[in-house]
Amino acid sequence: MEQIILENISKKYISRNETVEALKDITVKINKGEMIGIMGPSGSGKTTLLNILGCLDTATSGCYKLNGKIINETNEDKLAIVRNKNIGFVFQQFALIEGYTVFENLEIPLKYRNNFVKRSYTKGDIKTRITSILKKFGVEDKLYSYPNELSGGQKQRVAIARAMITEPEIIIADEPTGALDQKNGEEVIKLFCDINKEGRTVIIVTHDEKIADYCNRRIKIIDGCIIGTKIQS
């Protein structure tokens, strides 16, 4: 089942009176439950593609359908709802909010959900959910720790837990192992595999061939164009 359809997507930026075409007429289809690796050199447009896939940005032209719904004509508020409901983000530098405990970091998406749908989560629900997901990712003892008290691996586990806290159907990870050593990197990628096994779609941007090997499919992008797709066993 095609969960994500990008058809003839282009993205242009205007920088100092100069138009930069970050994505050129890209067409990608991603099925539900796939694990996709997006690869390419710096400046190739993979982050722009990720932003569009993650509803953080909209395409200049083309059509983006998520679960059959056209996304690129949606307003910013609705995109925020889509991000909160359907997409979990994991970033290279973990993107945990300093000064907030692990619990508070995980609480944020749930609180935003409560803004969209009143009382989606009660205080009790939030605590139970956070505790259980931290347990799942092996950092349950870090509930009230601050990010600066965590190791890199722990930070990324917490970041993944935060991405998963609203049970999104899509996880988008931008260089998730870029700031980790090999051992932690492998552990993190195994976590993504586990998440994928749960039936969630995982899209990972990476330079690392080893990480890309874990994916069902690789999409290679250069100069804003997809130059190849490789399906792996």
């Binding site: 953080l56 940005d57 910013e76 991000r83 409901k85 970033f91 530098q93 993107a95 944020i108 935003y112």
Partner: protein, 409 residues
């Protein structure tokens, strides 16, 4: 963004901002309260002015003292001076009416040999006006041991009623009852008849000697006295003080003054029209307006500080805001969160300023505080801050999640 956490993050800076904002609020509230004092006083003056009304008083002719008449701090002597002044003019056919006004103090029965004075008689003419020095009356009000205090009484009674309220000492209370309509001996100074109503009993042990010294009041420790507060002036207002006369139409005040002075050996009569007093109030009031400007300037400057904080908050936390966008925040969520920080600072400043405002009200005579003043200052703060943060909101609403997230990645 939890406000408490943000405040904690920039604790010292936020404390300074709160102090700065509180100072602005205090200065502005004080300035407005003083301004309001003059406004209310001047209004009451203006309302009360009748033609040809003069405040009169005696001063020594040769820079000496009024021997036997004036002795500062001795209320009895001041009263004697007033009576002397009053006696100078009371039978003058050019004076339409004259009155005492606005000395709020206890007055003792002076003739101790006459026990009957302890029982206040009825039907005596006087217009003795004992007024409403707020501080002193409050002092008395604090020690009403039976009956009603000044404020309580006037809350429930028309100031224009025929009887004049008085309080009596506890010694007099054994001879007179609360509610009695009485006359006051020794005050048969005018042609105006007045009835006095005993509305309360005052604790004789108060004010203490120290308070009396601080207040410059009579420090003798009488046990048999009464206090008269507020009554009907010719101007029918409580705010005037001293002795007032109203000259008949067509009488030239300068000629009147010269003629009176020619009769006096040691003293001379000074006359001041109520209009000139109002002018003095106005000029003082204008001077006070400066403080309003200072208050506004401080609040505006503080608002700039707040803007810089918020801008700094945004600049420092663009990445964080980006992460929040990724996690599902809408722009309005971010705007509300930032606003709550400003509101918190403002509320904290107002809370901090409240006790100081209380001190100002308690410690100043020429201040009339009203809650609307606080409301105006708060509103002014909110408006200034809102005006200042509009550019911030424009900035937030122009930011794209992608740009911000790139900073948070």
């Amino acid at each position: 963004m939890k406000v408490s956490r943000i405040i904690k993050r920039n604790l010292h800076r936020n404390i300074l901002i709160i102090i700065q904002l509180a100072i602005g609020i205090i200065i502005l509230v004080r300035a407005l309260s003083v301004y309001n004092y003059f406004r209310e006083e001047v209004n009451s003056y203006e309302e009360s002015i009748k033609q040809n009304v003069y405040d009169i008083f005696l001063i020594p002719k040769n820079n000496g003292t009024l021997s036997g008449l004036v002795n500062q701090g001795d209320v009895g002597s001041i009263l004697s001076t007033e009576i002397a002044t009053y006696n100078l003019v009371k039978d003058d056919t050019r004076v339409k009416v004259g009155t005492f006004s606005n000395y709020s103090f206890r007055y003792s029965i002076s003739d101790y040999s006459k026990d009957q004075y302890l029982k206040l008689p009825t039907n005596i003419e006087n217009i003795k006006i004992y007024g409403t020095d707020r501080e002193l009356l409050e002092m008395y009000d604090n020690k009403i041991i039976k009956g009603q205090g000044y404020n309580e009484y006037f809350e429930n009674n028309d100031k224009n009623e025929e009887v004049i309220p008085i309080w009596i000492s506890d010694k007099l209370a054994s001879y007179n009852n609360i509610g009695d309509i009485v006359e006051i001996p020794e005050f048969d100074l005018t042609e105006k008849k007045a009835k006095f109503k005993i509305i309360g009993v005052i604790d004789s042990s108060y004010p203490t000697l120290q308070k009396l010294q601080n207040g410059g009041m009579d420090s003798s420790e009488e046990e048999d006295y009464y206090v008269i507060a507020d009554t009907k002036l010719i101007t029918d207002r409580k705010v005037l003080s001293g002795i007032y006369i109203q000259l008949k139409e067509g009488i030239d005040p300068e000629e009147f003054q010269q003629e009176i002075n020619s009769k006096c050996e040691e003293t001379k009569l000074q006359m001041q029209s109520l209009e000139s007093r109002i002018d003095r109030f106005y000029s003082f009031s204008k001077w006070n307006v400066r403080f309003i400007y200072y208050g506004i300037i401080i609040i505006v400057l503080t608002s700039f500080s707040i803007i810089s904080i918020i801008l700094n908050t945004i600049l420092n936390r663009e990445g964080e805001i980006g992460i929040r966008f990724a996690l599902g925040a809408r722009k309005k969520n971010i705007a509300i969160e930032l606003c709550s920080e400003i509101i918190f600072l403002l509320l904290a400043a107002e809370l901090v300023s409240l006790p100081f405002i209380g001190l100002i009200i308690w410690g100043s005579n020429q201040v009339i505080f009203r809650w609307w003043i606080f409301g105006i200052v708060t509103l002014m703060n909110i408006i200034i801050i809102l005006l200042c943060i509009i550019p911030i909101f424009i900035r937030i609403f122009r930011m794209t999640p992608v740009k911000l997230i790139n900073k948070g990645r």
